[in-house]
Amino acid sequence: MKNRFQIAHVKEKIGYVLFFLIVILYMMPLVITFTNSFMSSKAVEANYSTGNLREDQYIEMEIVPEKVTLSQYAALLFDSPVYLHMFWNSVKIVLPVVLGQILVSASAAYAFTILKFRGKEVVFFLYIIVMLLPLQVALVPNYIVADWLNITDSYLAIILPGIFHPLGVFLLRQFMKSMPDAYIEAAKVDGAGYGRIFIWVVLPMIKHGIAAVAMLTLLDYWNLVDQAVIFIQNSEAQPLSIFLAQINSGELGMSFAGSCFYAFPVLLALLYGQDYLKNGIAITGLKG
């Protein structure tokens, strides 16, 4: 009996060791990006450029740089205002989308929960279908609308469709389904109107869901590439994510610092919001 217990114990230990190994492998891209951001631009270029390599030569991916320097960050932040400007462009796109998406989707989800009308489920089905479509499918529709509104070369062409994207409505409605009706009924009996019930009863109960929607939207739009390429012609108005996507082909030197710099705000949000995210995106399922 004792022997069997020990074997089970050893098995468990081996399992954990394996898991830790996987976690370490899993983290490699992130670790490399972080440590290499302290390399000098010259060292990065020497390590990663493949132009002059023979068949049997390989790029050098060093986990720990030989010489630690902040020169990449210095170049990024102080040499030219372009990068900070692009960072600010990203903020200008993402912030309205996140705020608008929360406002619209929370209220729409509330309306979907409260109202009873014929065809409600059909409407919601349309929301789900649009939510599932890949970005490329929406390109032409987005372009048509931007053309109607005459906003093709402005952030609004990205922001407005972003605000009305159905993902938030879908997630928050699922979230509200798990909310007991009794709360709303009780508030009604107490004489609260729909506005008050929304603000004082429903919103506090779905705050995890709202935080999750905020974070998912943030992650999506902070990294946007395609829409910006299509709608923003002026290179100075591009968000930083575009610059990072182009860095791969040309300037290697600052790419790592740029990546870390750009990922930092989102990582911070993730660190604080991780519990919200975990509790928020798991909703009691797709009960229709």
Partner: protein, 287 residues
């Protein structure tokens, strides 16, 4: 007066969302249908369904369709299984489990360009993988341009998206009452029995949600692939979005819209199936 406004509030909210949704997605989507039945957007000569017919005979479109379907058929189930596995392990780790789950969430926050850059340098001809293989005297190949390209794509997708489902599963797991497991322990049930008869059963609503979200996310892997391989990737990596993107850039809206209608029809079919299955499944399950 004030009361009346409050009574109408849910309708106002509904109409606001519906207007925005219709104006930015539904209406232009249906309007765009007109593009698909004319020969080109400038001439606007009616040509019936010939665009659709041409698409189904176009080798690029069919290749994209085939590769997308293959990619999803492999990566979606794989991601579901692996993320559930990770969630189960993390749930069993007593201390620091929050840090472990954070690690799996970080790739979501990493800029696509950053992860694309890493994977390019990992799987490239002069990349790290070949460097280690050369130690064992295995000749290096350009993995992305080889017949393993699809596999690399799956790995990148899993790496990025495991955390998303893991987060879903973790909170799904935390809603299963501990007593169920204790009961099973008393009865002497094994690990496999508990997984099959308790965990998977009570996790099924979460599983359906995870499936939907994995599906949504599986389209997004295109961003990384696009950054790595550009507009014209090797045949094995050519997915539907490449075709659409290229049609968009070459202003061939008629073909593009026809392609989106074919894809949308496929997705509608898929969603109807999923919802049917979900309803059947939850009817069996009595809460």
């Amino acid at each position: 007066m004030r009361k009346k406004w409050a009574l109408n509030l849910p309708w106002i909210m509904m109409i606001a969302s519906l207007l925005g949704f219709s104006f930015f997605y539904l209406v232009p989507f249906f309007v765009s249908f007109l593009y698909s039945i004319v020969d080109n957007p400038i001439n606007r000569e009616f040509c019936g369904l010939s665009n659709y017919k041409q698409l189904l005979q176009n080798s690029y479109f069919m290749r994209g369709l085939k590769n997308t379907a293959l990619f999803m058929a492999v990566s979606v189930p794989l991601n579901m299984v692996l993320s559930l596995g990770v969630a189960l392990v993390i749930r069993n780790i007593k201390s620091y489990s929050n840090y472990f789950s954070l690690i799996f969430l970080i790739p979501l926050a990493t800029p696509s360009a950053t992860s694309a850059f890493f994977w390019q340098n990992f799987f490239g001809l002069h990349g790290v993988l070949n460097k280690y293989l050369s130690v064992f005297h295995v000749d290096g190949i350009d993995w992305l341009n080889s017949k393993y390209g699809m596999l690399v794509m799956v790995i990148i997708f899993i790496w990025k998206n495991i955390g998303y489902n893991m987060a879903l599963f973790l909170s799904g797991l935390s809603s299963i009452p501990e007593e169920y497991y204790e009961c099973a322990d008393v009865e002497g049930a094994g690990w496999g029995w508990k997984l099959k008869h308790i965990t998977l059963v009570y996790l099924s609503p979460t599983t359906f949600l995870a499936l939907i979200m994995t599906f949504v996310n599986s389209f997004k892997v295109f961003k990384e692939i696009y950054i790595i391989t550009g507009e014209y990737p090797p045949d094995s990596l050519y997915v539907l979005q490449h075709y659409m993107n290229n049609m968009f850039l070459s202003l061939n809206y008629s073909k593009l819209v026809s392609a989106t209608y074919i894809l949308t029809a496929t997705i509608v079919l898929f969603v109807v199936c999923i919802f049917r299955a979900e309803r059947k499944f939850s009817d069996h399950l009595h809460y």
